[in-house]
């Protein structure tokens, strides 16, 4: 594999970038947060360089091979961001004196004006500055974003530069990629709502550009438009929400707003009804960005983008932006710490939206055959879990049960972490599968036009039995799926358990309206077990379903490393971080909570007890029911339909071999009758939401657009054209005065002077 070795030599230019942050940190008493701007600026510098240099050296071989069309530059920029993040995280974790909770570093007063006060003195009012806001929430999300952006960029170098369909335009991809990363980092670091919104929009733009990367494909262009417009609906509401917030608090700075959310500008007590609508508007923005019901329609179509984009936008970063925004709203409702009471309804609405989306997305995922679409719906469903958890947290905090509130807030954010890691990896693994299947297909039917153009490398019905062909990918996907399903002890189990338990607790403690979300997410746990197992079995287990499978090999460089790293993280991080007290850490209230000051063994026992044997008998029942549904019922049903051992002579590796063998042991069940039912068709059509929206748009927006087009053509343009043609006619008349004879000009000048004299005399008398 001399060629492969050569490939990794390209990483050598990264070494100086790796050295930047250690150099800064070792140099005297530099404060890490003073360098937080590096996180955003590094991609910002890389973006134009990649774009312009790429345009110049488009067809150049050196550019293509040794810079991977800018991928290496992007990787370098993201490396700087990642190492800076780790530096700040390290400082934060060792409790550096300079960083405490909610540290704000402000560099610049961007917009500020002086205000004349009632006693005739001037006061400076900081409207908008540039700064960073660092607490455990933003640090966690920042780490997730930088880490995954780095790995996905690495993966994209392998994936995009060997992608057969986009010759010579990869610099565009990498430029948009780093711009997107910039948006995400900036949004997380922003220390006020307006900056958050600006970076939020940067992400929206880049998601549009990246989804439509294959813009010559009609479906990709359509998907990009759909994603952009759907999220724009949410963004308009978000903007309204920000205006209401400004109206209440007179500032959008976190420092001002969160200092005491119960008193608004001028010391007035905040009206909970007004604040409720502000929060609702912000929540609708989050719903659009995180693809929740009813603004969920864009996410499945967004899979038209290249697979690294799916991993980046739809797993690791952008969809988490909405969750981040909702998690940021906690201080408003936290009645224990100056919050505004009377906002339980907001928490219930968030939880209901989450529950509905979780159930709906999981049920649609049952019938998808496209491997990326399954993952897309799974993303929606898992994000909805987190929303349900955040809804419960909002509810608990608002009725002053702050222990439960912070616990479920921490669990939700922990689930965000687990899900981002697992889903980023799953998307990359699916990319690996698609890539290798596509290459095998090209190899097999090389140069022959025998009607294989309709071959879809993403369709799981063309796969099967890939476990022995793609060992690393199969292992990665198995651990990722386990984390998403919530197999005990792995990844997402710890966080999902917490969310479900606390949502049920809210019901048990007398809030009957919580029953709906609680039942929905419990059912979804079992459904997740089914559809994730189904995806894995359809792809990796059983006999091959097409002749392409025999020719699949895991050869492309750059693709395996991120998968291996993330597999390890997904497999162990759930347990390790839970024991280390990440739930307390993320909820940002370290002093009050449970794990403080215990020994490691005690912590392990405490966590295991809480996961499997909670004190409350009813919660314990719910927990065991979740495990039963997601671990036993779902996967076994899936293996009865799609499982099976490999072809004779094929051997899968240690990690996945047992699973493949096991999947063949539960017998076979034929479900073809089910797939012809009306329910299956409805699910296949995504429960008709897309048709409904398109119908509504066709009735309302399109006639309106036609009318405005007519109005523009005939009224606006008509008036302009009338003015234009009339003035042309007028100018013909005026031209007659220029006779060309000097005598006439002198006469006119004389008459003019006389007129001026007459006027002046008229004025002076």
């Amino acid at each position: 594999m001399g060629e492969t070795k050569n490939e990794y030599r390209l990483l050598l230019p990264l070494l100086p970038f790796l050295a930047i942050v250690p150099f800064l940190s070792l140099q005297g008493d530099n404060n890490s947060t003073d360098f937080a701007w590096l996180i955003v600026v590094a991609p910002f510098v890389a973006f134009p360089i990649i774009l312009i240099v790429g345009q110049v050296y488009n067809k150049n071989e050196t550019w293509k091979n040794s810079f991977k069309e800018g991928g290496i530059l992007g990787l370098a920029a993201l490396l700087v961001s990642l190492s800076t993040t780790i530096w700040i995280l390290y400082d934060y974790l060792i409790g550096n004196a300079d960083i405490n909770n909610n540290d704000v570093v402000s560099w610049l007063e961007w917009i500020s004006f002086d205000i004349l006060q009632a006693d005739y003195t001037m006061a400076q009012n900081r409207v908008l500055g540039v700064g960073v806001w660092i607490d455990s929430l933003s640090l966690m999300l920042l780490f997730v974003a930088t880490f995954l952006c780095f790995l996905i960029c690495w993966f994209a170098i392998g994936y995009m530069t060997t992608d057969p369909i986009n010759e010579d335009s990869n610099h565009r991809f990498f430029a948009e990629f780093v711009l997107f990363s910039l948006g995400m980092f900036g949004m997380v670091l922003a220390d006020n709502f307006l900056w958050l919104f600006i970076f939020w929009e940067v992400m929206g733009l880049c998601s549009y550009l990246l989804i439509g990367f294959y813009y010559w494909k009609e479906s990709a262009a359509y998907a990009a438009k759909k994603a952009f417009l759907t999220t724009r609906v949410g963004d308009v509401f978000l903007m309204v929400g920000l205006l209401i917030l400004y109206d209440i608090y007179g500032s959008l700075d976190f420092a001002v707003v969160f200092d005491d959310p119960s008193t608004g500008v001028g010391g007035v007590l905040v009206d909970s009804g007004q604040l409720f609508w502000a929060l609702m508007m912000l929540f609708i923005g989050a719903v659009g960005k995180s693809a929740q019901f009813p603004l969920h329609v864009w996410l499945p179509d967004a899979m038209e983008g290249p697979t690294p984009v799916s991993a980046l936008i739809h797993a690791a970063t952008m969809v988490n932006a909405g969750l981040y925004l909702v998690a940021r709203l906690m201080p408003f409702v936290d009645v224990h710490h100056h919050g505004v009471s009377g906002l339980e309804d907001f928490g219930l609405i968030v939880a209901w939206i989450g529950g509905i989306t979780a159930f709906m997305a999981a049920s649609i995922a049952f019938v998808q055959n496209d491997i990326k679409k399954v993952l897309a719906y799974s993303t929606m469903s898992q994000l909805a879990y987190i929303f349900t958890g955040l809804g419960s947290a909002l509810y608990f905090l608002n009725i002053d049960e702050y222990y439960a509130g912070y616990f479920v807030l921490g669990a939700s954010l922990f689930h965000l972490f687990n899900h981002a890691m697992a889903k980023g990896m799953l998307f990359m693994a699916s990319g690996s599968v698609i890539h290798e299947v596509h290459h095998a297909h090209d190899h097999l039917h090389h140069g022959s036009d025998d009607g294989h153009h309709d071959f879809d490398p993403q369709d799981m019905r063309n796969m099967g039995g890939l476990a022995s062909k793609l060992p690393v990918t199969a292992t990665a996907m198995m651990f990722g799926s386990m984390s998403i399903i919530g197999i005990p002890l792995i990844g997402g189990f710890w966080s999902k358990e917490g969310i479900i338990a606390k949502t049920w607790t809210a019901y048990f403690e007398g809030e009957t309206l919580m029953l709906g979300p609680a039942i929905l997410i419990l059912a979804t746990a079992g459904m997740t077990g089914f559809y994730m197992s189904r995806m894995w079995f359809m792809t990796f287990a059983g006999e091959p379903k097409s002749d392409v499978v025999d020719h699949v090999h895991e050869t492309t460089p750059w693709i395996k490393e991120p998968l291996i790293i993330l597999t390890i993280i997904t497999a162990i991080s759930g347990f390790v971080l839970a024991v280390l007290g990440i739930v307390d850490f993320l909820s940002n209230k370290t002093d009050d909570l449970s794990l403080h000051g215990k020994s490691l063994t005690d912590k392990i026992i405490y966590e295991l007890e809480h996961a499997f044997l909670p004190d409350d008998m009813k919660v314990r029942m719910v927990g065991w029911l979740t495990i039963l549904l997601s671990f036993i019922v779902g996967p076994i049903m899936a293996s009865r339909v799609h499982g099976g051992s490999l072809k004779e002579g094929e051997k899968a590796n240690l990690f996945v071999g047992w699973l493949v063998k096991l999947s063949g042991k539960f017998g076979k069940q034929d479900v073809s009758w089910l797939s012809e039912s009306q329910l299956a068709e409805a699910l296949d059509k995504r429960l008709y939401f897309d048709d409904l929206y398109e119908g509504i748009l066709a009735r309302t927006v399109i006639p309106f657009a036609d009318f405005t087009a007519w109005f523009d053509r005939n009224i606006v343009d008509g008036i302009i054209k009338q003015i234009e043609s009339k003035s042309v006619l007028g100018s013909f008349e005026v031209r007659k005065f220029t006779t060309g004879s000097a005598g006439d000009y002198i006469l006119m000048a004389t008459v003019g002077v006389i007129c001026i004299f007459v006027l002046l005399m008229g004025v002076s008398f």
């Binding site: 031209r735 007659k736 220029t738 006779t739 060309g740 004879s741 000097a742 005598g743 002198i746 006469l747 004389t750």
Partner: protein, 100 residues
């Protein structure tokens, strides 16, 4: 001492002659001369007023106006020269290519 109104009257007459000439004559050099005549009519008024009020400002204005008139004549004659070299005429009736 002559009454300044006589001198002003002379100025008005000179100005009228100049204006009439500028309107009616076709020869560009004559028109230029007529313009000079009008300028000098104005100068005469300045000088008359200056001597009447015993104020030096009028003389200063006159000196400046004469300098400007000289510069103007230089430019005017240069234009006429190039007009003649291209159009072979200095009749204002024939030099009308800027019309309409």
């Amino acid at each position: 001492m002559i009454d300044p109104s006589w001198i002003s009257g002379l100025g008005v007459i000179l100005f009228g002659i100049g204006l009439l000439g500028a309107f009616t004559r076709k020869n560009a050099i004559i028109v230029l001369m007529c313009i000079e005549l009008m300028l000098n009519a104005a100068n005469l008024n300045f000088v008359a007023a200056a001597s009447h009020y015993g104020d030096v400002d009028g003389w200063v204005f006159t000196a400046i106006a004469i300098a400007i008139a000289a510069a103007e004549v230089a430019i005017g004659l240069a234009i006429l020269l190039s007009l003649y070299s291209t159009q072979e005429t200095i009749s204002l009736d024939e030099a009308n290519i800027l019309r309409n």
